[in-house]
């Protein structure tokens, strides 16, 4: 399979009143053509920052991409100028935001908002742009697209707006779609419809999707592979079955406690006791240690190396060390 995106050792910092927030601290992952990668994790763990970094949309200041490589096909996005980046945004990589209520400009018609990306990037007549816009509205399932083009966002329901946002993101036929919690703000039935729409679109256009979500039900439904983030690190990664049936990291296990089965549909991640560490001065060891039922001395002292269990399954946890296995065998944790 062809890799279309490869992120290596990504670090993003924000300077704020209180000091420097190390929002993303060495995240690496990749994406194959036509697949859906889900990124999950608690609020504030750096999912949005990671996805914004791929688009180079980190607000700067206060944000800064400190280190890392982002390779899209053969382009190093980190090395591109803002202008070159602009010719990639919306054309090759598109993005969908969490709240469809705020993602559309309230004072412009949705027709304008649909077509402006197209007009920006493609030499295309207004008539053709309109044709394309109508086609997209049809694809995402908006009835009467002809009339709808002239309407303003407030004339649409939340679910409809999210469909429009998706149409906008897809109108230039991007290869990669980053969807940052596209269903979180919607109610459950609409969520299901939007997810079906994603599957349909992927079938029809072959777009690769990075899906950021809180919702393991969503992951179960649409993801091919799953990456789990915690406190700015990617702590476990694997294909969907590996993560759901053989989670290795205690944090992943904690997350899955409420949803033990892949066929569960609508389940929220249940909170794990405690709160994530402060990203102003992240611990030098494993950031999950204070909340981890299996924490060992070593976890507090040093961050574990990434261990590959299969070609797809990777985990950052000291429990993978032989000596930890010995410890486990000799004493059971209360």
């Amino acid at each position: 399979m062809e890799k279309i995106l490869e992120v290596k050792d990504l670090h993003v910092h924000f300077s704020t009143y209180g000091g420097i927030v190390q929002a993303v601290r060495g995240v690496s992952f990749h994406l194959y053509k036509g697949e859906t990668l889900a990124i999950v994790g608690e609020s504030g763990c750096g999912k949005s920052v990671t996805s914004n970094a791929i688009m180079k949309l980190i607000p700067s200041p206060p944000g800064r991409l400190v280190r890392g490589k982002i390779q899209f096909h053969d382009k190093q996005l980190t090395e591109l100028s803002e202008k070159e980046m602009r010719s990639i945004r919306g054309v090759d990589i598109s993005m969908i935001f969490q709240d469809p209520m705020t993602a559309l400009n309230p004072t412009l018609t949705i027709g304008t908002q649909l077509m402006e990306g197209l007009k920006q990037h493609k030499k295309i007549s207004s008539l053709e742009a309109r044709e394309k816009a109508l086609e997209m509205l049809e694809l995402v399932g908006i009835p009467n697209p002809d009339e709808r083009l002239k309407q303003y966002p407030h004339q649409f329901s939340g679910g409809m707006r999210q469909r429009i946002v998706i149409a906008i993101a897809l109108i230039c036929e991007p290869e990669l779609l980053i969807a940052d919690e596209p269903t979180t703000a919607l109610d459950v039935t609409i969520q299901a419809q939007i997810l079906e729409l994603f599957e349909k679109i992927q079938r029809e256009t072959g777009v690769s999707i990075i899906l950021i979500t809180h919702d393991l039900g969503v992951v179960a439904k649409v993801a091919d592979r799953v990456a789990v983030m915690y406190a700015g690190k990617l702590i476990e990664e694997g294909d969907k079955r590996e993560i759901f049936y053989h989670p290795q990291h205690p944090y992943t296990k904690g997350l899955l406690k409420s949803v033990p089965r892949l066929d569960a549909t609508e389940a929220e991640l249940t909170p794990i006791d405690g709160t994530p560490p402060d990203l102003f001065s992240p611990p030098k060891g494993c950031p999950f240690a204070p909340r981890c039922p299996m924490a060992m001395e070593v976890c507090l002292r040093k961050y574990p190396k990434t261990k590959s269990l299969t070609t797809t399954h990777k985990v950052d946890c000291w429990l993978q060390d032989k000596r930890a296995k010995k410890l486990l065998a000799s004493s059971s944790r209360k």
């Binding site: 809180h214 991640l269 507090l300 930890a324």
Partner: protein
């Protein structure tokens, strides 16, 4: 031993003690909303400057007239228009009165007008807006219709009208300024109360890993108190300003007593004849008090804005 194992010695592989673990929680002490806001406020240099300035003005308003050997209303015609000197730090005015004494006396009046106006607006606004927001429904609808109508009435024109009818005095000025002045506060309070009522909605929101008391502390209080405090900070200077404007129309504090406004407007002519100090001191302190309140208000707005937190 493998090199890897040298870096990570075997003895580290043992379970942690529970309390050791707790001690190792490296976490910034989670600041409460108020101390966080305070922290952000004191980081704002301009706002701190404003606060510092206000402290000085208040201090001098209290002690200025006390340390001065002159009386506020004591005329001394032969000593007319003395430039600032060792005896008269801010000079004397057209009646030979000591400008320093009058400036700090005027400060008392101006600040009192501003503070009282803000306080009364606040009380009425809290009650009215609170009832409207809390009751909701029809009551809210009617009360807000009334507010809408009152809001349309040009504020200063009404104040002028009232003071033309009632003889201007400290009390009547404050009354006039608050007769329609509370409307803005009432609107804000109502909006905030509605937000509090919505908080079940906040609780039901899907953000996982957040608990109830955290939401109340982190979202509710900041969201509700912030705008009210800011409005309060901005009412004071606008009342001081309004009083100065009224003074210019001859509807301010009446001679021989003084506010900054009356002093400044009485001295407008004097500047053309070169007696700059009679205008300069009151005008300077009005402007800088305005400045101070405004930057402090801005600073508070930033510090209390929940959107800017983190």
């Amino acid at each position: 031993m493998k090199p890897e194992n040298k870096q990570v010695p075997n003895e580290w592989f043992r379970w942690t003690e529970k309390d050791v673990k707790a001690a190792e929680v490296v976490s910034r002490p989670s600041l409460s909303y108020w101390s966080d806001a305070w922290y952000r406020l004191i980081k704002n240099k301009l706002a701190m400057l404003g606060m510092f300035f206000l402290v000085i003005v208040v201090f001098l308003a209290i002690f200025g007239p006390i340390i001065s050997p002159y009386e506020v209303t004591k005329m001394d015609q032969p000593n007319q228009f003395h430039p600032p000197s060792k005896d008269h730090w801010f000079g004397t005015d057209q009646h030979g009165r000591d400008v320093f004494t009058r400036t700090w006396y005027g400060a008392r009046v101006s600040l009192f007008v501003g503070l009282m106006a803000a306080l009364i607006d606040f009380c009425i606004g809290i009650i009215y807006g609170g009832i409207a927001g809390y009751k909701g429904g029809r009551v809210d609808n009617i009360m807000m219709r009334i507010v809408e109508v009152l809001y349309g009435i040009p504020y200063l024109l009404v104040v002028i009208l009232l003071l033309v009818i009632m003889e201007p005095s400290l009390t009547t000025i404050i009354i006039a300024l608050t007769v329609t002045g509370w409307v803005g506060m009432a609107r804000i309070v109502r909006g905030q109360v509605l937000q509090i009522k919505n908080y079940e909605f906040v609780l039901a929101s899907k953000s996982f890993g957040t608990n109830t008391s955290r939401i109340i502390r982190r979202n509710l209080i900041p969201n509700t108190m912030g705008p009210i405090i800011v409005q309060l900070t901005l009412t004071v200077p606008s009342a001081i300003f309004a009083e100065a404007f009224l003074s210019f129309l001859g509807l301010g504090i009446q001679s021989p007593y003084a506010s900054w406004g009356t002093m400044a407007s009485d001295s407008l002519g004097a500047i053309l004849s070169g007696h700059w100090w009679t205008l300069f001191f009151p005008a300077f302190f009005i402007s800088f008090t305005m400045f101070a309140f405004n930057v402090l208000g801005d600073g508070l707005q930033d510090a209390l804005d929940p959107k800017l937190r983190k």
